[in-house]
């Protein structure tokens, strides 16, 4: 399938590589380079960044020629809600405790699926949180409060 730039998979992949490589070189600019015999902390990452940029340019140019499109759509909904659920867990874990964090995580994650059935999610969340509390806090003796921050 022919495509525009925004869903040209090789063009975007190349762009991503150039961005990562570019960042690597940019942020390594203050690290002492040293020389071949005595490499400084900046030598290896800078070299890698440049190599990555070269790969990126090649992949990008090839994408411009082949113009192959990405297969399928971007899954915005699963991507955003799964990411959200993980972030929510991280954020609430230390403030509210393990069980509330897991309950929130379950609801956010379940929203990522195709269908969201409130009762089913509630039961699943309750069961699995209880299970996690049992296994991790009582079984593996991890030092987390079930409720409340620390």
């Amino acid at each position: 399938m022919k495509s525009g730039l925004l869903n040209n998979k090789d063009f975007l992949a190349g762009l991503l590589f150039i961005a990562i490589g570019g960042c690597a070189v940019f942020f390594a600019r203050d690290y002492p380079m040293g020389w071949v015999e005595r490499m400084g902390p900046g030598y290896f990452p800078t070299a890698l960044g440049i190599i990555l940029c070269l790969f990126g340019v090649y992949v990008m140019l090839r994408g411009l020629l082949s113009r192959e499109a990405i297969k399928g759509e971007w899954g915005w909904r699963p991507l955003s809600f799964i990411t959200l659920s993980i972030v929510v867990f991280g954020f609430t874990m230390e403030k509210l405790g393990l069980i509330p964090a897991l309950l929130l995580m379950f609801f956010a994650a379940a929203y990522a699926g195709r269908e969201f059935r409130f009762k089913e999610v509630a039961v699943l969340a309750a069961l699995m949180s209880a299970f996690a509390g049992g296994v991790f806090v009582y079984g593996l003796k991890l030092p987390y409060p079930l409720f409340g921050g620390y």
Binding site: L16, G21, F55, T83, I86, F89, M93, E120, A125
Partner: protein, 498 residues
């Protein structure tokens, strides 16, 4: 005899009650999770990996490898019953296994898979025991230059052999190497790419990368796709293969084992390629090749033997050289590093109980799989019907709690989410994540060896080409690149849709 003494030592370690228990837990958990639809071995290991972190090194690795082959076995169960390969290594099993199931021969297919795997596992374990020590001794002679070239060869091979594009694979290796750089530089004590986040000074956690890249990204990909296909719902009545099945499957199992064992030690090839190769071999050797794809038992036995044999022998370069040949071995290597064991040839000498205990436990684990799985097939079948909408939040839960438990800080969780997003984008752009993980695991070591090699040679890069072993690895690297660009071999590579 050394081998015998070593094996006795190993079995002594593995047969302790504690290690047997962890082996059993690992195998059972691995199968349990691996059998769930849409959850492959990599996700299983990545997800359960943090749980083993709180154990001492020996039981942790025993449990982890138990999870590994348990998950692989679970993967072939889903291939046969649901036509849904958990990973590329079981794609081939789908072809004939699922057809057998549809013809009402799911039982014999599952039993053949289990027994062929067990046979291959036994041979594989023996091979590690025989080949390990000489390999390790040989590797003790390696200097920094040799290691550097060897790692280069391993990384290039991993990039080239994975499905998909070679240049993208190489670029992914570099991305992985760069991720490995993050943290405090051991030589100068300088913080690199930490952006003043104190939690980053030890680098990005291994679990963060593994879980984000393989578990989180995988879930998003699965959710985006349509619901899984039909589930085999018929009852499994007769489990055991009949005499004709055994006759038909015997030689393919042996050949599959041989092919798999060879592929396992080659860097970057891993189980997937060996299953394709052995399937094609069986098809060539068969008197009536047209039966393949329509439920030929050879088409189940040979690839199952091959993927298990190569899964076992891939431990050889990982344990003796410290070079992982696949993403799963990179996970094992990461686990070793987290346990404070520096991987490499010295492991065998300094921690014989770990090395031989692990080997013995592999054999025991394979035996457990056969004993455990054949009677429990009914339960596994029922597990296949668990809807994915219940599974994926639970997997996320394990990922979150597991990841948090490693360092007890929320930064790891945020990073994991970020890596998950990156992993998903990479999958959409058809960049294989496996080479990235290998690069990340080997990155810090490779930089260290590179620096050391060039320091010793006073900055002369010809050191990589004048030392004979190093030269051999360099030529190997070049050969891999040349051979892979040749069209004949490229056709052999498993493509994603095959």
């Amino acid at each position: 005899m050394d081998l015998l003494n070593n094996l006795i030592l190993g079995f002594g370690v593995a047969f302790s009650l504690q290690n047997l228990a962890y082996c059993l837990i690992g195998v059972a958990l691995g199968t349990l999770i691996g059998v769930l639809p849409g959850v492959g071995p990599l996700v299983t290991i990545a997800m359960l990996f943090p749980i083993t972190f709180n154990l001492p090194a020996v039981p942790a690795l025993i449990m982890l490898s138990g999870i590994f082959y348990g998950a692989q076995y679970g993967g072939s169960t889903t291939s046969i019953l649901v036509n849904l390969p958990g990973e590329t290594a079981s794609v081939v099993t789908c072809l004939d296994g699922y057809q057998m199931a549809r013809q009402g021969r799911a039982g014999p297919a599952l039993a053949t898979a289990a027994l062929a795997s067990f046979f291959a596992g036994c041979v594989g374990t023996l091979l590690i025991a025989i080949a390990g020590p000489p390999m390790g001794e040989w590797a003790l002679a390696f200097g920094a230059a040799e290691y550097c070239s060897l790692m280069l060869m391993g990384l290039v091979a991993s990039a080239v052999m994975t499905q998909g594009d070679i240049v993208k694979g190489l670029a992914m290796v570099v991305v992985g190497l760069l991720l490995g750089v993050v943290g405090t530089d051991v030589n100068s004590g300088m913080s690199r790419y930490t952006f003043d986040v104190p939690q980053l000074s030890d680098g990005i956690g291994f679990t963060v990368i593994a879980v984000g890249l393989f578990a989180v990204a995988e879930i998003v990909v699965n959710l985006e796709m349509k619901e899984a296909g039909e589930v085999f719902t018929g009852r499994i009545t007769n489990l055991m293969p009949v005499a004709k099945d055994v006759r038909d499957a015997a030689w393919p199992t042996v050949r599959g084992t041989a092919v798999g064992a060879i592929f396992g030690v080659l860097p970057g090839t891993g189980p997937a390629l060996s299953t394709f190769a052995t399937y094609m071999l069986e098809k060539k050797l068969a008197r009536d090749p047209s039966r393949f794809g329509k439920g030929a038992i050879e088409g189940v036995a040979a690839p199952e033997a091959a993927n298990n044999a190569s899964a076992q022998t891939s431990f050889i370069p990982m344990l003796t050289l410290g070079i992982p040949t696949s993403a799963t071995m990179a996970l094992m290597l990461g686990a070793m590093t987290m346990q404070g064991i520096e991987p490499g040839p010295q492991v065998m000498a300094s921690k014989p109980e770990l090395f031989w205990g692990l080997i013995a436990s592999m054999w025991i684990g394979n035996l457990m799989l056969v004993i455990l799985n054949l009677p429990l097939v009914g339960i596994w079948v029922r597990l296949l019907r668990v809807p994915y909408r219940w599974l994926f939040p639970s997997i996320i839960m394990f990922c979150c709690v597991g990841n948090y438990s490693v360092n007890n800080n929320a930064v790891d969780i945020y990073l994991c989410a970020l890596i998950g997003v990156l992993g998903y984008v990479l999958v959409k752009l058809e960049c294989e994540p496996a080479p990235l993980l290998l690069g990340y695991v080997l990155g810090p070591l490779m930089e260290e060896y590179l620096r050391r090699a060039l320091l010793i040679s006073r900055g002369d890069p010809s050191v990589f080409f004048t030392r004979p072993i190093s030269l051999a690895f360099m030529i190997g690297t070049l050969l891999i690149l040349i051979v892979m660009v040749a069209p004949a071999v490229r056709r052999l590579k498993p493509s994603a849709g095959a």
